[in-house]
Symmetry: C2
Subunit: 447 residues, 2 copies
């Protein structure tokens, strides 16, 4: 049997980038992907009407230098998310228009939210991205959930709801599912509060022409025969000379392996010798967030005629956050909404028809009756994806960072770990996936 | 291929009890156990000196009616844990003797601890054991970690440490790793605070002659050829007629399957059709606790000569809790200590020699220099066990109970779920393992 230089497990952006860089460096490489497709947590969807959108991750933005460079390299152009007109906010039963990132709250609520944001950023700026546990106060911050910090810091019920909404938007989770230290790290990892939340100048600024899955599709094309889809790795056996990988039908041998899969999927592989107990315990404490991404396609973007941007935020679920996801070269209008965290687990258990009804009700609440009759509807429950089991990314539970999560990046013999959850910049985003790939590739090339 | 009535996955107390009851009811049964041994999270260890002790779960106590009945049925006698003499407590650098469950703290600390205990029990008594999420305040209590409740409720630093110590002793975890609702449920599930913490009259009262693994060994003997060890189930395929189970070497077919394994192990099986996303998400949020059980054998129980019980509690780790685990029919003395939660993950990464040194140092701190020179030492890191990956039991993270954890007990087609984590009484204990088995058996027999 041929011994490859490297086998990469997982053909998302992280795995494919790693494989391509290794191939460019002259290594013999195979990428083993469990699904029949590449892309990981990115996935294009073509409406019958022709419009191609993403039911997975979709945005890139400023300071995401690695993914922007990769897009240039792959000659994939971007275009801005539609961001003109009034945003809407629905709090306390009242629908109000606003511009920018923060709605026009009552002055005491605004004060509450801004003070908390400043306080959060003052702490966040201090976090060492390489290892948040090194901060002198890391222990306190990691023993506390983000929810506890919100309860302690925000003085108004309305302000607390705003922060919970932001947690949902950024983490696809409720703030009691991860530690304050993780929240502080994550926001700094994505530059700062404003950058992570904003459309213009922020993480939701730009989209990729043809859909974000094109990143992986283009890389897959370059990798050619080195990529094997439908090859779910089940067992990985490491010895002094190399690593043997077993899928349901085949077996591969390599000098090094790079895993580019979410922590909860890594946990499920049969790795021999066993990963050390502390690693397994930490992986058990990195569950995936939960999101259902929902889209409705209309003949035209009717909300624009009312001067609306298509962006809404609300304290009422299940869709608490919407965007105008229409394509610039299409006459159709596309509304997109997220169901996040606990609500996503609830609605994942329902039928698509039930979800469609409730999602369109939410859209109608924000944009009027016309939203009830789309030409097409699509949604994607990421918890149901067999090799993701959730999105956007893993949440670090209290105690995980201070328990040594930064060391999960370190190789175990010939096994290396990539995937966006091992990144220090833009963890959870495409950019982090690429950083992680570059680090793992550097480790392998050094070895 | 023969179609069995039932295949049980996992030969711990829950799985073996289920299989035996089914066999008694006339069903054809196989138990598939991944390890070469039975017992799950119970495991006997024979010292070279001859004394047989447990490096896993060991105690039974009053109100654990199911396991006490099973012990009678299997003709396995019990004996009380050594509980004479003074207990020791080490807080604030001072070693003090005491009797009973609660040390002689300073009056303001004692008041603080007792008030908090009363408050906790007032809430705990209200929890509906079938489904804690049905309590009107379940939402609030499940969005909060037990650590947050401790910080809010206890007024003294010393009192908070006492509660953290209790969390470690009962859950093998830090109080920020599970929700207040889970803590309230768990304590009521084990009757009440005093019962769960006490030796005499409580969960640490009695031991099983010959070691607790005998429960499983006796059941295994009765099951005979129906038990197959070294058969790790990897893949489970359900269709209209039955279920096919695949191990590394064999395949089995059954009308029904009972899983009697911890949630994090269930998560790792390849089940087809896939478990629904919400189930997978909840299982991702039920990580195992973490404990290293450590024992040193001495020529004689020298601490008894100083009037000490061998029981010590301390704010200083890694061993914060000890017991006299000597056997009544042996001249030897055996000290037992627990390393729990985050400290267990830390010390699991060290060598046994390093652990031995630090554990003996702890023993010496409580019982004097003689403790430094045992005849034998043994410890067991449960996080390193390939098919447990932690002990004592799963922790329910914030949001898990209210997210529908009670529904994890419900069958999925022909798949049924046992294991102590699905019990309503004495979850996490032998007794809960048996309750869960009896429920799953009743489901199967009804079907």
């Amino acid at each position: 049997m041929e011994t490859l230089d490297v086998v990469v497990v997982g053909a998302g952006i992280s795995g494919l980038t790693a494989a391509w860089r290794l191939q460019q460096a002259g290594c013999s490489v195979r990428v083993l992907e469990a699904n029949a497709r590449v892309g990981g947590r990115t996935l294009n969807h073509q409406f019958a009407a022709g419009d191609v959108v993403e039911v997975g991750g979709q945005w890139v933005g400023p300071t995401q230098d690695r993914v922007l460079a990769l897009l240039r390299e792959l000659a994939l152009p971007t275009f801005p998310l539609w961001n003109r007109g009034d945003n809407l906010t629905l709090f306390g039963g009242k629908l109000k228009p606003y511009r920018g990132t923060i709605p026009r709250f009552a002055p005491h609520v605004l004060l509450d939210v801004l003070q908390a944001q400043l306080r959060f950023e003052r702490l966040s700026r201090q976090i060492p991205l390489e290892d948040p546990a090194q901060h002198p106060r890391a222990g306190d911050w990691d023993r506390m959930t983000f929810a506890e910090w919100i309860r302690r810091t925000l003085k108004t019920a309305h302000g607390r709801k705003v922060f919970e909404l932001m947690a949902g938007a950024v983490f696809a989770a409720s703030p009691h599912e991860f530690s304050l230290l993780h929240a502080l790290f994550y926001v700094k990892s994505g530059t700062d509060f404003d950058t992570i939340l904003a459309v213009e100048g922020g993480a939701q600024q730009d989209r990729i022409v043809g859909g974000s899955q094109l990143i992986s599709l283009c890389l897959a094309e370059r990798l050619g025969d080195a990529l094997r889809c439908g090859q779910a790795v089940r067992r990985v056996v490491q010895d002094d000379q190399g690593v043997q990988l077993f899928t349901d039908t085949d077996s591969f041998r390599a000098r090094r392996v790079i895993f580019a899969i979410p922590p909860t999927m890594l946990l499920r592989l049969q790795i021999e010798p066993l990963l050390p107990g502390w690693r397994d315990q930490l992986l058990q404490r990195q569950p995936q967030g939960c999101v259902i991404k929902c889209m409705a396609l209309y003949e035209r973007p009717f909300w624009r005629e009312q001067g609306l941007s298509g962006q809404a935020t609300s304290e009422h679920g299940p869709v608490r956050l919407t965007f105008d996801n229409s394509l610039p070269d299409s006459p159709h209008g596309i509304l997109m909404g997220f169901i996040e965290g606990e609500e996503a687990r609830h609605w994942a258990a329902c039928t698509e028809a039930e979800r469609r009804a409730v999602v369109l009700d939410c859209f109608a609440r924000y944009f009027g009756e016309q939203a009830l009759a789309p030409r097409e509807y699509v949604d994607k429950c990421w918890a149901d994806e067999p090799y993701a089991r959730g999105c956007y990314a893993a949440l670090f539970a209290p105690g995980v960072w201070t328990g040594g999560a930064a060391r999960l990046r370190e190789p175990v013999g010939r096994l290396h770990f990539a995937g966006t959850e091992t990144a220090t910049r833009w963890m959870g985003y495409f950019d982090g996936a690429i950083e992680a790939a570059e680090r793992a590739v550097a480790e392998v090339l050094r070895a």
